[in-house]
Subunit: 318 residues, 2 copies
């Protein structure tokens, strides 16, 4: 297998692009895809400081690596979810990455904001773990960005992530989610920062290859709460479709952005207001995060009269 | 397992309805679903003669059985596709069904209309077999209905068929197909008859159970050209989703009809005209069927100067 660009021995075959690349030309291809995503959707300018949300995994660290080495003005944001050793190890990876490159890393703590770490939130509320965690992360990303004067947050969502989310929303025709899925979520309110996904054109395999070739030390373990998650089954199904028809995920996501999303955008319109408690943006009186934090707090008060909750027993993850 | 209605021993569990039924109550449930589909979408009246497209399989014969026994004024339409023994056997099943119930069966021949049976069409054109066959069937259903004075054609498409078609269209966001997928396709032109799918609320398992319990003798073999068809892979994927979340297919199809389709209907509008050759409805000068028949004819003329084509070699199906 020869590199499409230089004819040297290829290290990676990209079936959906009907191409193979040597290491340097793959890295160049990867960077071009990120730059093209940024250009096409007007995600970032080089002047504007961008907060890169990093989990310690391959996608977000690859993103931070590309953006910082392409001359963007970046800082990292690590959200400590308090998920046992998984959180400790992923924090270490983020800190080492930042220190090694002389980049600024902001650390925020879910427990300090919501009243309990994610395992505690899971036990204190009836909400599925990934749902409560996603809500908390989106809220805190926005809040930290506003507090530190960033107007844009970049996340490491790749093509596989986007395809799996889209697949889940489509199976139930969740038109509100469909109207919002995009590589760029604009700031539609002064208290909302823009959210951008510069890796949406690159597959999970490609971000892993890039991280490996760039020598990025990332956490390989998945979050212990992700086991059995529906999104993983959806990823498997999409991988099966991709194996039979290379480009299936690409066509699904790109086709949606070109022809599906415009149909739903017209259907959905919401009025944004400020949460009565925290002042962040919401469509109701209290924002979903404050409702979640309220439920956690009430449960903790109730429990303190009966038994002391323990949020750090590692073997309770499920 | 007890019947939800009468408490007797159940013969069938319907997980998506969280119910089980004995044989008579399942039959009643099945009929109610058909009647509800007809009512909800204004598919048929009892006065209006309806042409039921029958393939000899479980779905279309179950449909004909329900409609005729519920007092609808039906005739059957069998389209001879010329697909080797599969077509011969399926025709025999349809004829036996009609004779046994004193129902009228109209038989039309694809070869007579398009110039070659389906295996010949496949070889004469580059079109995928299922695509050329589907086009020919839709065209002939409409033509025979018009010729015999029927204003509506009913087909045996079940929930699994509708979910698989929708899945395929959604993976590529084919907005034209999405805007047209519906249990009722109204007659939007004097030369188009209405097409209705009264079984769209019933799964493949349910139509098989109904056909079995009613003692319908149907052809079990699948069309030899369907092997490896993408729609079969999509059905497998949907079965996997259904196994994990009973009701997944139901939610996918019903959610689309409620919230997805309205978004696409607004996007698509076409101008219908009459085909310059056959007078049937098309969006261009020549209809797709006449283009197909033209390609078949030209290929046969070319071949007759070189070698005699053979359309009946059974082992050539693929």
């Amino acid at each position: 297998m020869k590199c499409r660009k230089c004819g040297a021995q290829a290290v990676l075959e990209l079936r959906r692009h009907n191409a193979a690349f040597c290491a340097p030309d793959f890295e160049e291809f990867f960077r071009r895809q990120v730059v093209e995503a940024i250009r096409k959707h007007g995600m970032l300018t080089r002047e504007e400081p961008v907060l890169v949300a990093v989990s310690g995994g391959k996608d977000s660290l690859a993103l931070w690596d590309v953006l910082s080495s392409e001359g963007y003005n970046t800082a990292g944001l690590y959200l400590n979810l308090g998920i046992f050793d998984y959180s400790k190890d992923s924090r270490t990876k983020c800190e080492a990455f930042a220190t090694g490159r002389g980049l600024k890393l902001i650390i925020a703590d879910v427990e300090a904001e919501v009243g309990a770490p994610i395992p505690g939130v899971q036990r204190a509320t009836r909400r599925p773990t990934c749902s409560a965690c996603g809500l908390s992360k989106r809220y805190l990303m926005n809040k930290v960005a506003l507090d530190h004067g960033f107007s844009v947050v970049a996340t490491g969502h790749n093509l596989d992530d986007e395809a799996a989310t889209l697949f889940g929303s489509t199976l139930r025709w969740q038109t509100d989610a469909l109207s919002r899925q995009s590589p760029v979520l604009p700031a539609t309110h002064p208290k909302l920062v823009r959210r951008v996904k510069p890796l949406y054109r690159l597959s999970e395999l490609e971000t892993a290859a890039f991280a490996f070739l760039r020598g990025i030390d990332y956490i390989v373990e998945e979050c212990p709460f992700s086991r059995g998650a529906t999104s993983l089954m959806h990823k498997e199904i999409l991988n099966r479709l991709e194996a039979v028809s290379p480009g299936a995920k690409h066509n699904f996501v790109y086709g949606f952005l070109e022809r599906g999303r415009p149909a739903f955008e017209r259907m959905e319109s919401v009025t944004l207001r400020e949460c009565a408690r925290c002042g962040q943006v919401t469509t109701s009186v209290l924002c979903a995060f404050c409702k979640l934090a309220g439920r956690v707090k009430r449960t903790l008060v109730t429990q303190s009269h009966t038994e002391r909750p323990s949020f750090d027993r590692e073997n309770e993850a499920n």
